[in-house]
């Protein structure tokens, strides 16, 4: 049981990283893309090939995986990002499948016994799940912070402007194409890093594990948690993984078929669309011009509720 819970934490972490990437594409810039499984695949394969064939260490293959995925994201992005909405969705769906097919043809059985990752002499073995939980969630934290910073900077605001209204964004001097491509490349690179971490955990890559369902799961994660909200996306990753491992968790593997999770995802999405289309936590709202200083904000966050502190400050200046 504890073992399963640890496994869920690991996969929730990997999916949270992917979902942060998907959130950059879908949540901030508003492009409906369905090829995160493809980026995940490229990241995994890049790591596997770098570690096994070229004998690079895990830490060196990590940036290689990110750059390779980013570059392929750029190649895919330049022609497809002219499309909008459903058309973009279909085009990216096809590209995800193309990547998987190339991977299958490259090496139908995938790669096995990839060297382990190590840090300061410590070897990350698949048996030791706690070490992986720490490693993967450290990455989740890093990407969370990086993308929160992006969302609240000039660049993130421009992406949000593109999502809200492309024509108005152009009239504000925002180069819509540039921001669409940058956000697609960033999202892809993050998906690649998720693939890299997965390879470090499983030490095998098989083309069969990068199906269309993975892309759907990642998109579900973003929609479920709340589009354009990095916190919500991490919460969504947890929920999706809990559902995914529901038969094992409840000990009903014989009763609930493995395909049942797909039904549950579908049902969940329909219910969400009817009751709370903005996702569980909704969009992230950043209040520009909050009169509090950073210290006051931290104080309010940890010690007392925000509203009260501000009132108190206004009463006795």
């Amino acid at each position: 049981m504890l073992n399963f819970f640890q496994l869920i934490l690991i996969y929730a972490g990997i999916y949270a990283i992917m979902a942060i990437g998907q959130n950059c594409i879908t949540g901030y810039t508003g492009m409906l893309s369905l090829c995160h499984a493809g980026f995940f695949c490229i990241g995994s394969y890049a790591t596997a090939i770098m570690c096994k064939t070229f004998g690079l260490s895990f830490w060196l293959s990590l940036p290689v995986a990110a750059i390779a995925t980013g570059l392929i994201g750029l190649l895919i992005g330049i022609p497809t990002l002219r499309l909008k909405g459903d058309y973009l969705c279909i085009a990216t769906l096809g590209l995800g499948e193309i990547i998987r097919n190339i991977a299958t043809n490259l090496n139908p059985v995938g790669y096995n016994s990839i060297p382990r990752a190590s840090l300061f002499g410590y070897q990350f073995a698949s048996r030791n799940k706690v070490a992986f939980i720490i490693l993967i969630w450290a990455f989740v934290l890093i990407f969370y912070v990086l993308f929160q910073q992006l969302a609240h900077s000039r660049l993130g605001r421009a992406m949000i402007a593109v999502r809200e209204d492309e024509v108005a964004a152009q009239s504000n001097g925002i180069n819509v194409t540039k921001y669409k491509i940058s956000s697609f490349v960033l999202g892809a690179a993050v998906g690649g890093i998720a693939g890299c971490l997965q390879t470090a955990y499983t030490l095998t890559v098989q083309p069969g594990s990068y199906t269309f369902m993975v892309s759907v799961m990642v998109l579900c994660t973003v929609v479920l948690g709340g589009m354009g909200n990095a916190k919500a996306v991490i919460l969504g990753a947890f929920i999706i993984q809990l559902i995914s491992y529901l038969p094992q968790l409840t000990g009903l593997t014989n009763v609930i078929p493995a395909q049942a999770k797909q039904i549950i995802y579908g049902l969940l999405l329909v219910v969400m669309m009817l009751c709370r289309p903005q996702g569980i936590l909704g969009r992230d709202r950043f209040r520009y011009g909050d009169p509090r200083t950073r210290r006051e904000k931290l104080h309010d966050f940890f010690i007392r509720p925000a509203g009260k502190a501000r009132e108190a400050r206004h009463e006795n200046p």
Binding site: H152, S153, R154, R157, I160, Q170, S171, I174, G289
Partner: protein
């Protein structure tokens, strides 16, 4: 001095000629009105000048530079801002965020620095930049007296205020030339009167204004010069007084009122 000039500007949509060989020009510092019956090609002309649409033939010269066929975002960076006929605000963002979008290339975008290094700076020093952008946005909001709504959602503002917010967002980019596409459409008389004072304020800032409008009272009161389009062709231009007495204009446009009498 002419700040904007179009030469033989033409736009064809299949067989329909929306704008036909129009020589439109705008004098610096004045308020120019663009009027004409529905479907006369006024908005198409606006769209071509602001880069939202490409002319079939002809040339657009802004401030001595040929801007024909440039993408819209480049044209707005050169100093042409606009509002839209059907208000295009970022409705799900707050009022102040809307104006901050208007400041996109004003703060944190240094033309003398490489674009990539600019982006890195904007990313790393985001909170410092945000404070600056926020302060400037608030200045614009108080200029239009809508600063008390700063943290409300743009979509929740009353109609007249949404128009003003859109103008504030356009002006935040510090344009030389501002295009207003039917700013008084759907406004009640009180709001229209307020809009006139707003346009007056903008003129005092030294911004050249071009506006499309159907409200003749507004046009005749605030415009220094008027151009009339009909079926895509320029049929008259001159001062409000000249336009009022122009026979062609009366026939094409104002004449309808006489028929009713």
């Amino acid at each position: 001095m002419r700040i904007l000039e179009t030469e033989h500007l033409t736009r064809e949509f299949g067989g329909v000629i929306a704008v036909n060989d129009v020589d439109f020009h705008v004098e610096k510092g004045l308020v120019t009105g663009l009027i004409g019956p529905n479907g006369a090609g006024k908005t198409t002309l606006f769209n071509q000048i602001t880069g939202m649409d490409r002319p079939t033939s002809g040339r657009i010269v802004f401030d001595g530079v040929d801007i024909t066929g440039l993408p819209a975002w480049k044209i707005s960076r050169m100093g042409i801002a606009r509002t839209f006929q059907n208000i295009r605000l970022y409705k799900d963002l707050t009022v102040v965020e809307n104006v901050m979008m208007g400041l996109h290339f004003k703060v944190g975008s240094d033309p003398f620095r490489h674009r990539f290094s600019q982006a890195i700076r904007s990313y790393v020093f985001a909170s410092r930049e945000n404070r600056e952008v926020y302060a400037k946005a608030m200045d614009w909001l108080s200029f239009f007296e809508i600063d008390e709504h700063a943290q409300d959602f743009a979509g929740s503002l009353p109609y007249g205020k949404q128009r003003e917010l859109e103008i504030a967002r356009a002006l935040a980019a510090d344009p030389k030339l501002l295009f207003l596409d039917e700013p008084a459409a759907g406004m009640n008389p009180a709001e229209t009167a307020h809009l006139m004072t707003v346009v007056d304020k903008i003129r005092k800032l030294g911004v050249t204004v071009v506006l499309i409008e159907h409200d003749m009272k507004l046009v005749m009161n605030i415009c220094d010069s008027i151009t009339v389009l009909n079926f895509g062709m320029k049929i008259a231009e001159g001062t409000p007084n000249e336009i009022k007495h122009d026979k062609g204009v009366i026939e094409a446009y104002l004449g309808r009122e006489e028929e009713e009498d």
